[in-house]
């Protein structure tokens, strides 16, 4: 339920804010569609900074509408890409602090006031990410199924013929189960070590690094398990080292390492703990 405060714009419009920059080039983003049709992206000055905004129909951006949108994969993808497109265009022209998806205000006056309160944090974020870009690193280990040595999984004997199992059968069963458990734990430790190795190598080159939530297995290619999903803030002049570093890590670890970027530093504009 959207809270219709007093300052709600009379014509039922709201203001979508994409990013905050020092002095963005209008040409960089003016032609982009943004998150709605029929409204031009424009700049909103607040103090010494500038936000890139778009006026939208408030009814299209309420809490309920967003919830429905969030649950529809294509809709979510469309809005995420539209948001990202504007942020990327701005970042190509000047240092930019991207805002999270669906940052909305009732109107320009309200937006300016809210953004002004955060000027200090925007300036700090701009400083920290100036001349840096973000690189995503995902590491996958092959998920070899733990083979049951010797007999395949015990075929269930026909109920009628089940007699007392031979002595020692229990011992053998436990030994096998112990082996399966030990192999599983070893595989798990190897995965953790692999993740640490790759993360440490990138931390050396990066100014900062963050671990994101690991992707669930359905998203990951069959037979692989994701062991590291991290993102790093790397100074532009060191970006060239990443190619060689990735190659070397692939060689030494034998794991599949995907690197993506350069990105606008989305993951490094938050609070610095």
């Amino acid at each position: 339920m959207t809270e219709w405060g007093l300052e709600q714009a009379s014509d039922g419009s709201a203001l979508y804010v994409f990013a905050v920059c020092k002095d963005p080039e209008p040409a960089a983003f003016a032609g982009l569609p943004g998150v709605t049709t029929g409204e031009r992206l424009h700049r909103l000055r607040f103090g010494e900074l500038t936000a890139i905004v778009q006026s939208v129909r408030a009814a299209d951006f309420t809490d309920e509408v967003w919830q429905v949108r969030m649950s529809d994969r294509d809709e979510l993808g469309r809005y995420a890409r539209a948001h990202h497109e504007v942020v990327s265009a701005a970042a190509a022209s000047c240092p930019t602090v991207p805002l999270p998806l669906a940052t909305l205000y009732h109107g320009e006056k309200r937006a300016r006031q809210a953004l002004l309160d955060e000027t200090e944090r925007f300036r700090a974020a701009l400083e920290r990410t100036a001349d840096h870009s973000e690189w995503g690193v995902k590491v996958y280990a092959a998920e070899s199924p733990v083979p049951e040595p010797g007999s395949d999984p015990i075929p269930p004997p026909a109920p009628a013929v089940r007699s007392r199992p031979a002595p020692g059968a229990g011992l053998a069963y436990l030994e096998r189960k112990r082996g399966v458990q030990a192999r599983r734990e070893r595989r798990h430790e190897d995965a953790l070590r692999l993740a640490e190795t790759v993360d440490a190598a990138f931390q050396d080159v990066a100014a900062a690094g963050r671990r994101l939530r690991l992707h669930s297995p359905e998203l990951v290619e069959k037979g692989h398990v994701q062991v590291l999903n991290a993102t790093y803030l790397v100074a532009k002049h060191r970006a060239a080292e990443l190619g060689a570093l990735t190659g070397a890590l692939r060689a030494t670890t034998g794991a599949r390492i995907d690197i993506s970027g350069p990105w606008v530093p989305y993951s490094f504009v938050g609070e610095v703990q």
């Binding site: 995420a80 990202h84 942020v87 309160d117």
Partner: protein, 111 residues
């Protein structure tokens, strides 16, 4: 997934179209700079059932350090405690027995 090719100049930003959605979502949905938007996206707001839980969970060692060892001192629960309380009872019985015996000796001396 566009593989890393560093031929391009260092500050191009990948077009949003050829980047995979998971990478974008992980970033645009991230906390980022926390400023309050006017519209709160609220996914879970179950008011009906509230469970108020005050639980103290600790490993056995930490619990012992914190002086919590009721499972050791409660005779019904722990064999050691059971043995100790058994020994206490035996000692008591023996003491009472001795007291009784000494009384009967006195009685027999006076006769």
């Amino acid at each position: 997934m566009t593989d890393l090719d560093l031929g391009r100049d260092a500050y191009p930003v990948p077009g949003p179209q050829n980047t995979n959605l998971a990478d974008i979502l992980e970033r645009v949905l991230d906390k980022g700079i926390v400023i309050a938007g006017d519209i709160k996206i609220d996914l879970l707001d179950i008011e009906l059932l509230t469970i108020r839980l005050r639980l103290f969970v600790a490993s056995v060692d930490t619990a012992k350090k914190a002086g919590i060892d009721w499972w050791e001192t409660d005779p019904a629960l722990s064999s050691r405690a059971a043995r100790n309380s058994l020994q206490d009872e035996n000692r008591e019985l023996r003491e009472r027995l001795e007291a009784l015996e000494s009384k009967t000796d006195e009685a027999s001396d006076r006769r």
